[in-house]
Structures are given as C-alpha cells and as structure tokens.
Amino acid sequence: MTFLETLLQQSPVLIIATPLLSAFLMPLVSRIHAKVRDVFALVVLGVTSCFVGLLASDVLSHGPRIYIFGAQNLSFPLVRILFEVDSMGVFMAIITVMLASIAVVYSWSFLHQQDGLDKYYTLLLLVVTSALGMELTGDIFNFFVFLEISCIASCALIAFWVDEGEALEAAFKYIVVSSIGALFVLFAIGIFYAQYNALNIATLAHLLQFTFLDKIVLAILLVSLGMKAGLAPMHMWMPDSYGRAPPSIILIIMSATLASVYGILRVMFTLYGNVLTTSLRFSLPAHVIIGWILIALAIVSILIGVIMALVQTDLLRLIGYAGVAEIGYMFLAIGTSIVALGTSYATVALHGGLFHILNDALDIGLLFLVAGAIYYVTKKRSLDDISGLARSMKFTTVFFIIGALAVAGMPPLNGFTSKFLIYESVYQVNPILSIIALLGSILLLAIFIKVLYAAFLGPELPELKDVKEAPRSMLLAMGFLAVFAVVIGLFPNLVLDTLVKPAATALLDHAQYISMVVGGL
C-alpha cells in the first residue's frame, strides 16, 4: 500500500484528529510567537483541507467510504463507531474547511491587538472539528456529541469580547437555546435506542417502522436542528449572536449552523428515507405533510428575515436577519424536494437547496467580513453613525456590492444560480411560493441598497475623515469570497456537476448509504 493510499484510507479520522489535536497544541504553540501561532492555525486547516480534498476525490469517484473506530468485526461486546462518508458529507466538509481557512486569514489582522488569541484559535479549531464530525459521522449518538462540542465552543467564541456585556448576553442566549436543542436531540436518540437497540444511522434507517414514537422523534429532530439552523420562528438567537460575536467568528459559527442544516437533510433523506412514502391518515403520504411543514417554516423565515432586516440599523444584526431569510430559501427548496419526492423538479429543488448552502456561506460570509472591516476601521456598529466610506474603502465597497447583489440573487452572481433553480422548481409545487421567494429577494436588494447608501455613499463625516482601507489580510479574505461568488456565478456548472449533483444523488439514493453498512459490516 502506497503512502497516498494509506493517507486516503485513514483520511476520515485524520480530518477530525488534525484540528482536534492541534486545538490542544495551540496554547503551547502560542508561547513560541504570535506569528507562529497564526501560521500554525492556517497550516492545520490547510492540512485538514488536503485530507478533505483527498477523501472528496475518492468518494466522488468511487462512492461512499466507511471508517470503523473500535471493533472491526461484529463480536460482542460491540463497541464501535462508524464514519460513513458520502458525497453529501464531503460537500459540507469542503464548505466547512473553506470558511474556517478564510476566517483564520481574516483574523490575523482583525484580532491582532487582542489578548487571549491562543484560546481563540483553540476554540475555533474545536468548532471546525465538531462541524466536520457532524458531517462525516454515520452514528447518531456521535452526531450528538459533536453537536454538543459545537454548542460549547461556539458559545465561548461568541463571548470572546468578554468586556462587552452584550457579547456575554448573546453567548448566554446561544448556550441556553443550543443546549436545549441538543438535549432534545439526545432525548430523540434515546427513543431510537430504546426501540431499535441501535445508534448507527444506516442501521436505524433499515429498521425504522415509522411507529408513533418514530413520528415523535422526527418532530423533535426537525425542530431541534431547525432551531440550531436558525429557522423561524426559532431564529431569534441568530441576530443576537451574529450581532455581538467578532465577525471573523461568525464564519465559523455559520459552518456549525450549516452542519445542522446537513443534520436535517440526513434525517429526512437517509434516516426516514425508506418510510417517507408511507401513507398516513386521509391517504396522505408522509412526505407531503412533512414537506409542507418545512415549506411553511421556510416561508415564515424568508418573510420575518427580510421584514426585520429592513428596519435594522446595526449592520451585523441586519446581516443576521438576512441570514435567517437565506436559511428560509434553503428550507423552501428542501421542503419542495420532499413534497414532490420522485418527480424531476424535486431533484432540481434539491440541487437548488444544496447549491444555496454553498452560496449562502460565501455571500452572507462575505457581507459579515465587510461589516467587520467597517467596524475595524470606524469602531462603529450603527449605520446611522457612518457615511461616505466608499471614498476611503474602495476595495471593501466593491466586495460589499458583490456580496449584496449575490445575496439578493442578482445575475450573474452565484446567489442567482441557486435561486433560479429554487424559483423554477418551487413554481411547480405552487406559483405563490415562487412569488413570495421573489418578493423576498427584491426586499433583500432594497435592504442592501439602504446599507450601500447609508454606509458607503453620501457625504464623508468629519469624524471618519482619517479612516483608511482595511488591512491586507482582511481584504484577501474578502477577496477570496468575492472571487468565488463571481466565478461560481459565471460558471455554475463547475460546482453543480462536480459537487452539488453528486451530493443530491447521495441523499436521494439512501438505499446505497444503508446497504454499505447493513450489507455486512
């Protein structure tokens, strides 16, 4: 076996172990020199990205890969955890490592005068570990463990600016909401274990009978993970946390949030994939009822997100509410693909929804970084206190315009491509849904035109005359996201064909995921 083949075979564990062990090594590395610490964090994520890339190339060309921790054979006492990595898992892992790497580059300048950066990078790597763990594991209890790590590490990061009372309050709200959500997930896992004596997702999916208890578990998992994902009306923690956390951190918390969206996808398509077509009362198939529940929550998210964003003056909170609307678009597509399960436009909707996960990460992420750059140079959060920044922050203004147009779904940027697929597929279910989705995009454009006018255009304020452009590492991080937004917008098939379509196929072909484990392992 060659070195590369050994690396490939061990890549699932290396993807988790590299950031996890480096997180605990970080306080020691920090003692050498601040620059060594900064470079170490990026190198760790670079190495993790290489492992993710290696695993992705293998999974995309040869199908799902299983990694067994513990007992290799089915001998008792059976103590083992399975990682089952398919195209959906690697798609999410790629988003996570990309966001984390960009956040680290941005943090170099954004936080260079702050204390406690050893703890900052330790927590950052722990959140990355937890998100990657949630995305790669094939064990539902293991998923809960990583969810808990994500909650605790994210809470500490939100409270990083500990001298600000509001940051502590936001962190408190986050930990309460996240912990309750995670405890309900644990309760759901307990019900599964009591019924089926199994914790492996594929095994559970194979055994699932869709009993009354299974329906209860489905409701709990949907609502708990939905709250963690920021689905309205359980979204309120999101603007609070995003409004007070350091903007470099928001990218990392976003990756954990998107891992919860992944959790819902895994629950819906893999765990309950076999029973979704079961007929319930009034001869209604389960997927129609569940799909419409998701669509209803998605529409509420879009409307509440845009309507509340329109009146915000705190830029970070405003983008937080826009993020709620974007989550709504994802769930609108997911709900549509579940309602119309088996039809051609269900697949198009799923493509749109998955593509929008990536585009949301890029576009909302870019806007948060722009808001962070504004805060870095002006030390102001309110749009009422800033004006005419385009004169001194030309690059940041261009990045903002790209991010804003992409979030609003304006062609030819990446946001449009995923929204185009969503509009077209949702229209087949009900044209009114498409109209609401379009209305949401128009309002998003209006919201960001307000930001453009208030922050970047207008007269230069006397107190902001000495403002300079953001430092290079921050511009570099924003530049990466902006370039991705433009390139993906111009050549959507590059990502759609190589990552999104295989991920959608992996979700829809749940039989393959189940048979990999149930077939003999």
Partner: protein, 111 residues
C-alpha cells in the same frame, strides 16, 4: 457547459454578460450623440430644490433609520407584532421552540 438547465428553463450567465455588454456599448454610443454644452460650476450644474437654498451635504444626508420611512410607517401594525415577538428574552426564545414542537406533535399525532 455554460448553460444551467432547470427542467423548465435555462440560464446562461456568459450569454447574459455578453448581452449586457453589447447593450452597454449601444447606450454608450447613443450617449455620444448628446451635446455637453453646460458650464461646470454655474447654476446649470446645481441641484434644483424648488427654489430652496441647497444645504450642506452632511445636513442633506438621510440616515439609515429614516430610509424606507414610508414602507415602515404603512406596515406599522405588522412591525408592532414582529417587535413584540422579538422580546430579546431567552425564555421567549424557548417558548417559540416549545410552540413549534407542540404544533408538530399535534400534526404527527393526528396523522
């Protein structure tokens, strides 16, 4: 390769960029036919405010909280409901979680 198919339509961003570029050239050409006879720094280039004197740019700048005043005023009743919903209390956040969970339990129970 450049065209994105949705099953009922298609989207080609490269074609779109080309069309926009050609339109830009066309409008730029039409603009060239105009005459620039105005004189800079005279009354001709000043803003006309119904005869009122133009104040300084700082005074005329509309703050972010005043933008879309008409929209927010006409939607006052909706905003008052939404503001009441967003109390900022953690217990209310959990209440929404419990409410949504209860509704889903009900639907799952009935079905």
């Amino acid at each position: 390769m450049f065209s994105l198919e949705s099953g009922s339509g298609f989207w080609n961003p490269v074609l779109w960029v080309l069309v926009v570029f050609v339109l830009f050239l066309l409008f730029y050409g039409i603009r060239g036919f105009g005459r620039s006879t105005y004189k800079k720094g005279t009354e001709q280039t000043k803003v006309f405010l119904s005869g009122n004197k133009e104040t300084s740019a700082e005074e005329m700048h509309v703050k972010a909280s005043n933008l879309y005043w008409g929209f927010t005023t006409s939607m006052k009743s909706l905003y008052s409901v939404l503001r009441k919903m967003h109390t900022g209390n953690t217990s209310d956040y959990i209440l929404w979680f419990v409410l949504v969970l209860a509704v889903l339990f009900l639907i799952m129970g009935v079905m």
